[in-house]
């Protein structure tokens, strides 16, 4: 089976039962993606597939052949942090760090969802094309990622700061 992980094509032969999470961690040594509950309830295993966030623990690896899979390892490195990784450090977006890779992958995709106008359960007017980036919106959209350390305030601040920064840069580029 062929997988495309962090822009590398990888051949791996795994049992049908193997989850994408176990493929990453146990077969490919990509242990940045974490196993929390292994049942879809915590978000620690969040990765991006073709830019969309999913829980890799509930995904059978066989279903994700030839798709673009992005994990925390592909998002940034210690020498070249993704802006959200830098913001998580600046705003204390973690304590133990176990949920952090999932939080960051989830947030990257979530920002994309807001930008393309996907409403949330809290969005008042479903007809709006532009969705506000309020704290409540972020909390609702990030509810699939639990943090046992309760670093939520820092997580929200880091996301908001990164998004504000990106928006400012875009406005500048447009002007």
């Amino acid at each position: 089976m062929r997988f495309i992980i962090n822009e590398h094509s990888i051949e791996a032969d795994v049992d049908v039962r193997t989850s994408l999470l176990d493929l990453l961690r146990d077969h490919l040594g990509l242990t940045g993606t974490k196993k929390g509950c292994n049942q879809g309830a915590c978000g620690a295993c969040t990765v991006l597939v073709d830019g969309e966030r999913i829980n890799s623990c509930l995904a059978l690896a066989v279903q994700y052949q030839d798709r673009e899979i992005l994990t925390i390892e592909g998002l940034g490195t210690i020498g070249d942090l993704h802006p959200l990784q830098a913001a998580f450090i600046e705003y204390d977006g973690f304590q133990c760090g176990y949920c952090t890779p999932g939080q960051i992958c989830s947030a990257v995709a979530m920002i994309g969802e807001i930008r393309r106008g996907l409403p949330s359960a809290l969005t008042e007017d479903l007809a709006l094309e532009q969705i506000g980036f309020s704290e409540d919106e972020i909390r609702e959209r990030m509810s699939g990622n639990l943090c046992r350390c309760g670093a939520y305030n820092g997580i929200i601040e880091a996301i908001r700061a990164t998004y504000a920064e990106e928006s400012a840069q875009e406005r500048e580029a447009a002007a």
Binding site: N55, Q63, S106
Partner: protein, 324 residues
């Protein structure tokens, strides 16, 4: 462990052929329910037939409704412009379920056929008629705070957990099926069975029968509709009670109403008694309350879930009030 094979279907015909109606075969959507149940060994298939390649289209029907392929992802359905404008209760129901990650994986077909979250169903040390017919039901005298008050039987009191289906039954959705004996279309309200004496038989589907699409008829007044979900935490939890409703009010009189209930019943619940009670009446809180009373008149509480009856009534009143 049983050997597990994987096949990917390219269209309904190949899906059915690969499945072959075998009791050990399962269709596989996003896997968010089936993979979990396989890990718990509640489901032990020998073959999974991936149907995520089935139609992922949403298109207009001649009658002004929508035809939604079974392979459409939950996120895509909630996000669709026509759904947001014409059937907001459906967008809202989907968006209030699960998490962003799970909605990206879950398909329409899989959401409809997801299985109950009854704890005893998941716990193979417990007795459960649904998992193991005729073994008894540990929920009836156990922790049953999350269980149903409508449509229950002495054999099973488990709820159907879907939010999406609650909106769909309110909208008179029709399920398109493809089976060994051909294609058929049935109302979604007829797809799920009440548990009666056989909670292990959850739907009227024939062995190997495939959901190919779901159709929502044209319903202009559904543009004024919403979904309200009450749960133990603000997000990412199953409903204790939920209400999907659309209301057609003119000059203060309810001309038509559609109401679905979630979290309280053994199948996605169409609240026809409430609808009958409110249509033709003034859109007042007292009349909404009377409609809610009518629907829950025959509700049967268990030791731990009696609160759901009053909660459902208040949620109905509040939701209709919001639309009036």
């Amino acid at each position: 462990m049983i050997e597990l094979r994987y096949e990917k279907a390219v269209d309904p015909a190949s899906a059915m052929q690969l499945h072959g109606g075998r009791g050990t075969a399962r269709y596989l959507g996003g896997g968010t329910n089936l993979v979990d149940l396989m890990r718990e060994e509640i489901e032990q298939p020998g073959l999974v037939v991936d149907v995520t390649g089935l139609s992922g289209d949403i298109r207009e029907t001649d009658g002004g409704g929508l035809l939604i392929g079974a392979g459409v992802k939950n996120t895509a359905l909630a996000e669709h412009r026509a759904v947001r404008a014409r059937y907001p209760l459906l967008s809202r129901a989907i968006l209030s379920g699960a998490s962003g990650q799970i909605r990206n994986m879950a398909t329409v077909g899989g959401n409809i056929l997801q299985r109950t979250r009854c704890y005893y169903f998941y716990d193979d040390a417990a007795r459960c008629n649904k998992r193991s017919p005729e073994s008894g039901c540990d929920a009836i005298d156990g922790f049953n705070r999350i269980h149903a008050v409508l449509g229950t039987s002495p054999a099973c009191v488990a709820t159907h957990p879907s939010d999406m289906c609650v909106a769909l039954v309110a909208l008179d959705a029709v399920v398109h099926l493809q089976g060994a004996s051909g294609a058929r279309a049935i109302p979604l309200t007829d797809l799920h069975r009440l548990p009666d004496g056989h909670p292990e038989i959850e739907t009227v589907l024939e062995p190997g029968e495939l959901i190919t699409a779901i159709e929502i008829p044209n319903l202009p007044f559904a543009a004024r509709s919403t979904y309200r979900k009450v749960r133990d935490r603000a997000s990412y939890a199953f409903a204790l009670v939920s209400v999907a409703a659309a209301l057609d009010v003119e000059h203060g009189i309810v001309r038509d109403a559609r109401i679905g209930l979630g979290g309280v019943a053994t199948k996605p619940w169409r609240a026809r008694a409430a609808e009958r009670a409110v249509v033709g009446k003034a859109a007042t809180e007292a009349n909404f309350r009377a409609a809610a009373e009518a629907e829950l008149e025959n509700a049967s509480p268990l030791s731990g879930n009696g609160f759901k009856i009053e909660l459902a009534k208040r949620t109905i009143v509040h939701t209709l009030g919001e639309l009036a």
